[in-house]
């Protein structure tokens, strides 16, 4: 009898983890957690972790009467194309995930996306903004965030409405920066004067050469196509060098964290596009911001919001497909899915590109921001 009980206990012990393991769906993540882009990579990862924690805390999700919880398999690609390709291959063949999310760097997506197609594993990117990524006729690549063309369109309308000619640029010397400059130039009238276009490599911190050239060009406005850290440096150096130009910035430059890196005097009047104004009086954003602050004890970030939504979109696609494995079925479901996310309504066009709303915010002289576009959502200082 004792042997029988022991055998039964052993059998249960062996079977129980297996049964439990079947309820965990692993999502692959490619991101940069070390190297020069570790800081934005952290926001991306925070978004994924927050979504997974909330979904699991709420008891997971149901598919065909079965309950599933989520787990993440994370690879640090260091923003390197070769490491990104290796990670994508490993996620598809060794880890055998059915969907991959993430990536921070546009050039790395170019290496990962063909593998996603070959291995039939959908890849949802949540940060890279180079417009041509979703122009490659790759049915397995989806982008949740707005690309440079979408982001800049609203900003270009603003540029045309104010006295910003000649317009100078300082941009990252990569796909995101060069793509951004090309997007803006393509949207401006052909006779619009460009004062100076300067590119800098990731990790460069001395903008003095650009400043001299901007001064020489007589530019009235400077567009900064870069992330928070170089953006704060560039603004400080330009103002300290005595240049009184209108600043036009990007997604990364409309946060309180950015204000902390500078001060209200440096930022007063600056405008920037924003996929996610964290203080906007919109319920979904307020709720996300609160949850993010509770978990990470800091202000939320657009990269985190986009990545957070990607996890939910992946879950919606699995639900719609009625299965958690089989990349082809999930891809088909993704192409039809519609989801009300933190960043807005998310659905993908035939190229796999979503069209979330783009906002324009402007810094006020008290260190708050106002929303100036879309006009129907315009709100005063403190809202942006």
């Amino acid at each position: 009898m004792r042997k029988l009980v022991l055998s039964a206990v052993c059998a249960v012990a062996l079977i129980a983890p297996a049964a439990y393991a079947q309820e965990i769906v692993t999502i692959g993540i490619v991101t940069a957690q070390t190297g020069p882009l570790a800081a934005p990579g952290k926001f991306q990862m925070n978004g994924f972790n927050l979504a997974v924690d909330q979904i699991n805390k709420d008891g997971g999700f149901d598919i065909a009467g079965k309950k599933y919880k989520l787990a993440l398999k994370v690879y640090d690609t260091h923003c390197s194309a070769s490491e990104g390709a290796a990670a994508m291959q490993r996620l598809a063949s060794v880890d055998q995930v059915s969907i991959v999310l993430g990536e921070l760097c546009s050039p790395v997506v170019s290496a990962e996306a063909p593998l996603a197609q070959d291995e039939k594993v959908p890849l949802i990117i949540t940060v890279p903004t180079a417009p041509d990524l979703t122009e490659q006729n790759n049915p397995y690549l989806f982008r949740i965030n707005a690309h440079n063309g979408q982001l800049t369109k609203a900003l270009v309308d603003y540029i045309r409405s104010v006295d910003a000619e000649p317009l100078a640029f300082i941009a990252w010397n990569n796909d995101a920066g060069r793509g951004g400059v090309n997007s803006v130039k393509a949207l401006l009238p052909k006779d619009f004067k460009t004062g100076y276009v300067g590119y800098f490599n990731v990790g460069e911190v001395d903008f003095s050469s650009h400043i001299t050239n901007i001064r020489n060009s007589g530019a009235k406005a400077v567009m900064l196509l870069m992330d928070e850290e170089p953006g704060a440096l560039a603004i400080r150096q330009i103002r300290d060098a005595g240049l009184n130009v209108q600043f036009i910035g990007t997604l990364a430059m409309g946060s309180n964290r950015f204000l902390k890196a500078l001060n209200a005097k440096y930022l007063d009047g600056m405008v920037q596009y924003s996929a996610f104004p964290p203080n906007a009086p919109i319920d979904r954003i307020k709720k996300f911001n609160e949850n993010y602050r509770n978990k990470f004890h800091e202000e939320s970030h657009g990269f985190a919001a986009q990545s957070y939504d990607a996890v939910y979109v992946a879950v919606e696609a699995m639900k719609a497909a009625g299965k958690v494995s089989g990349g082809a079925a999930i891809r088909d479901a993704l192409s039809k899915v519609t989801f009300d996310g933190v960043i807005g309504k998310i659905s993908f066009d035939k190229k796999g590109q979503a069209s979330p709303p783009v906002y324009i915010t402007q810094w006020c002289n008290d260190g708050t921001r106002k929303v100036i576009f879309p006009k129907d959502m315009a709100a005063g200082c403190g809202a942006g």
């Binding site: 990790g203 911190v205 050469s209 400043i211 020489n216 300290d240």
Partner: protein, 291 residues
């Protein structure tokens, strides 16, 4: 155009001064020990982090933070020399592998300790501006140039006028003969590493407040300093000074004529030309049969 040239001359002299600090450290280590330390850039970076630590958590005084940062780096230099580089003397490939490994360990260690986000250190010398006509520079620009000039003069006097400096020069010229006259080469090696690392620490502590303190902040200055000592002549102290300042000023002025992202290309084109036409550098000594 004259305004632009003047602005870039000041900016170039400031960055060139930082390259001089780095190059002097690298050239001392190479001249005395024949060790090429590629990890000098991360020591520069630690200098910035230590200055931040001392400034905000210990002294509250920027000059004291720079001095404490230099002293800390000197200690780290002694430890690195004893623990790693002494065993690898005369083995250039292993020195390169070891210093590349050190870069990875130290950079990722710093990310673990301080996090990946860059740190700011707004000292009064960065907040205060000097206006010259329509131009405006931070006081820190001139602090850097002045401190580096003082460091160069002090180092020159140390090398030429003190017994320890003479011992270092003797060891660099002929280690065996130095032993014969009673010099302890191991002590000289430790002191050389300590001085070189202190100079790198000073560089990081001086540049950090002006820009940002972040794990990769030493990568660019290290590459430029390496170019400076090759252009100036491997092992030549005057070569490191002229090479460092020259690179800083040329790369700044070049951006008035060519796109800014080609700035590094100009420096490395000069380096390649020098290697082709005068591989022993501006102030290096040509050794018969070596080239």
């Amino acid at each position: 155009m004259a305004t632009a040239i003047f602005e870039q001359l000041i900016n170039g002299a400031m960055m060139g001064s930082i390259y001089v600090l780095m190059a002097l450290g690298m050239v001392l280590i190479f001249g005395v020990m024949q060790v090429l330390n590629f990890a000098h850039g991360v020591l520069f970076m630690i200098g910035g982090y230590f200055a931040h630590l001392f400034f905000f958590h210990v002294t509250g005084s920027y000059p004291l933070s720079v001095i404490f940062s230099m002293l800390s780096l000197a200690l780290i230099g002694i430890v690195l020399e004893r623990a790693i580089f002494r065993a690898l003397r005369q083995n250039l490939p292993m020195q390169i592998v070891a210093s590349l490994g050190l870069i990875l360990i130290i950079q990722n260690g710093v990310i673990q300790l301080w996090g990946p986000a860059a740190l700011q250190m707004r000292t009064s010398s960065v907040s205060s501006l000097v206006k010259i006509g329509q131009l405006s520079f931070t006081v820190q620009h001139f602090v850097i140039i002045a401190v580096v000039a003082a460091a160069v003069v002090t180092l020159y006097l140390f090398l030429m006028r003190t017994r320890l400096g003479t011992a270092m020069r003797a060891t660099s010229q002929h280690p065996e003969a130095a032993v014969v006259v009673g010099i302890n080469p191991n002590r000289v090696y430790s002191i050389t590493f300590a001085i070189a690392c202190a100079l790198a620490g000073a560089g990081g502590a001086l540049l950090g407040p002006l820009f940002l303190i972040f794990p990769q902040m030493g990568d660019g200055p290290m590459l430029k300093a390496l170019s400076a000592i090759i252009i100036g002549g491997m092992g030549s102290v005057p070569g490191a000074i002229i090479g460092g300042l020259g690179i800083g000023i040329i790369e700044s002025l070049s951006t008035l004529a060519i796109p800014t992202d080609y700035r590094d290309t100009v420096v490395f084109a000069i380096l390649i030309l020098m290697l082709l036409l005068r591989p022993w550098g501006l102030f290096g000594v040509r050794v018969r049969g070596e080239y």
